[in-house]
């Protein structure tokens, strides 16, 4: 198994306030990591750093052995927690955009997924509902043959049917030579996908490990573990 992501002592400070403290993680290919923690725990900051949208204050990270830069942006497919598409775009324009900028983008897969998500190529982004834009963003992010997928709250704000479609898409997209990191509060809906989990609080990883091992060792589901860990914090 190849190492897809490796972080060593990753730190991020906003002025004097620490947002991430010494995050050291390793993610091998074919694994799905659940990154869990309450609001403000540092999940999004961590993902933004790996996606190249923020710079670490300390420590290093590498994606497939490449240090942060233009090359890692070509290896990482990031699904942000907000709609980043231009409002003038139609779904087909967004697909063209990704095809033009990402060498690993699979247009046929995107069109196929568009149908699966019940979206029309001619639909304008500004006329899409929140759930529809989330599905559109997911179509684009998952139509790449990236080595690392970063999904920041992919289930937030969507109805249960759409949620199920998103989970199915994640399962369909999973390959042996890539890895996925999912940050979410809706642990119950996706915990069956996780191979590994990392609980993060105040910028620090407080518990990490193989999801199945944690379940059997603690005799609890990941959702129950989440509640137990964060109930008093």
């Amino acid at each position: 198994m190849a190492t897809i992501l490796e972080t060593n002592g990753l730190k991020k400070n906003y002025l004097s306030k620490p947002a991430l403290r010494d995050i050291t993680l390793r993610l091998d290919s074919g694994r799905i990591l659940g990154l869990m923690g309450p609001n403000g725990s540092g999940k999004t900051t961590f993902m933004k750093i790996i996606a190249g949208l923020q710079k670490p204050s300390g420590g290093t990270f590498a994606v497939c052995g490449e240090t942060a830069g233009v090359k890692t942006k070509g290896l990482v497919s990031f699904l942000p927690d907000r709609n980043a598409l231009y409002s003038w775009m139609r779904a087909s324009d967004a697909i063209d955009f990704y095809a033009d900028f990402f060498a690993d983008f699979d247009r046929a897969k995107a069109l196929d997924m568009l149908g699966f998500m019940k979206l029309e190529p001619g639909q304008k982004v500004k006329e899409m509902s929140k759930g529809m834009t989330e599905k559109m963003d997911l179509v684009l992010a998952f139509s790449r043959k990236a080595r690392l997928f970063l999904l920041d709250e992919p289930l937030g704000g969507v109805d249960p049917v759409a949620r199920e479609r998103i989970v199915s898409t994640i399962i369909k997209t999973w390959t042996e030579d890539s890895s996925i990191i999912i940050s979410t509060h809706l642990v119950n809906d996706v915990e069956r996908l996780f191979n590994d989990v990392a609980f993060i609080d105040s910028g620090e990883v407080i518990l990490t490990g193989d999801a199945e091992t944690l379940r059997s060792e603690r005799g609890k589901s990941i959702d129950q573990l989440y509640l137990e860990i964060f109930a008093d914090r």
């Binding site: 949208l53 710079k55 090359k71 990031f78 942000p80 324009d93 990402f102």
Partner: protein
Amino acid sequence: MLEIIKYQLKGRKESLALLLGIFAAVNAIAWAFAGIGLFRGLDRLPAACAFWFPVSIAVTVIVTIVSFFLCGSGHVNDLLWRNTSYLMLTIPRRGWEILAGRLIAGLAEFLAIAVPAFVMMSVHLAFIGAYAGPGGLGFWGFLSQIYGRIFVANPAPTALALLLALCVFVTAGVALTFAAIASRSFVRNRGLATAAIIAIFVFVSHRVSDLGIKLSERLGWFVRLPIAVPEFSMRGSAFGSGGVSQSFAGSAQQLAIPVAPFLCFLAVAAALFALSAWLLERKVEL
């Protein structure tokens, strides 16, 4: 970079069409009144033109000036302060490619506004000339005179003026881009940072301009252009009655333009562009 230009222009297409539509509408109204007056043989612009001419000129000039700054900076605020920045800053492209693509697209967009604006202003001038200028020349005669004097009689000064305008456009645009990127990189108070950086730029520009003029004087770097000023006479006011006739004798003058200040400004623009690209890649955070 071509893809950046393509999507930037695609994104601006609707706004551009709207702006040009507004241009066309207000100017067409002003021309309609002026045209009717000419058709009826009036010797001064109709009363409605006293309202529509200033309005159409103001709209055209203000939109062009605002576009100068927005397009010149490649709409950099959209790149840095909107959700769409997540898209543009996660594509595997170097900072200089993103910025250059946006600046080139901005230049194309500005030309798409400035050229019609120039044409519209020349039509206004031709109408004013048809009413107030030498008798018998008429609207079309005046219009052809305007273009003839600019492009046929003075091709070299016109080309140089366009080149200098391009230099000012690039320098101002890059300075604004740098101000926005620097404020996004270091200071979260966007307004304060932008104001501070613009103030510094104005100070630096003043110094660079002084240095350039001294350099030109010392090294003799001047472009000397002959300008043909043809004979011209005005027989009265286009808007009112009882204007005084004036005539201007034709002459050929020489214009000496110092070259060094523009070269200095281009050097400053190149340095700021390189710094902006570096900041975009290494320091800008969302």
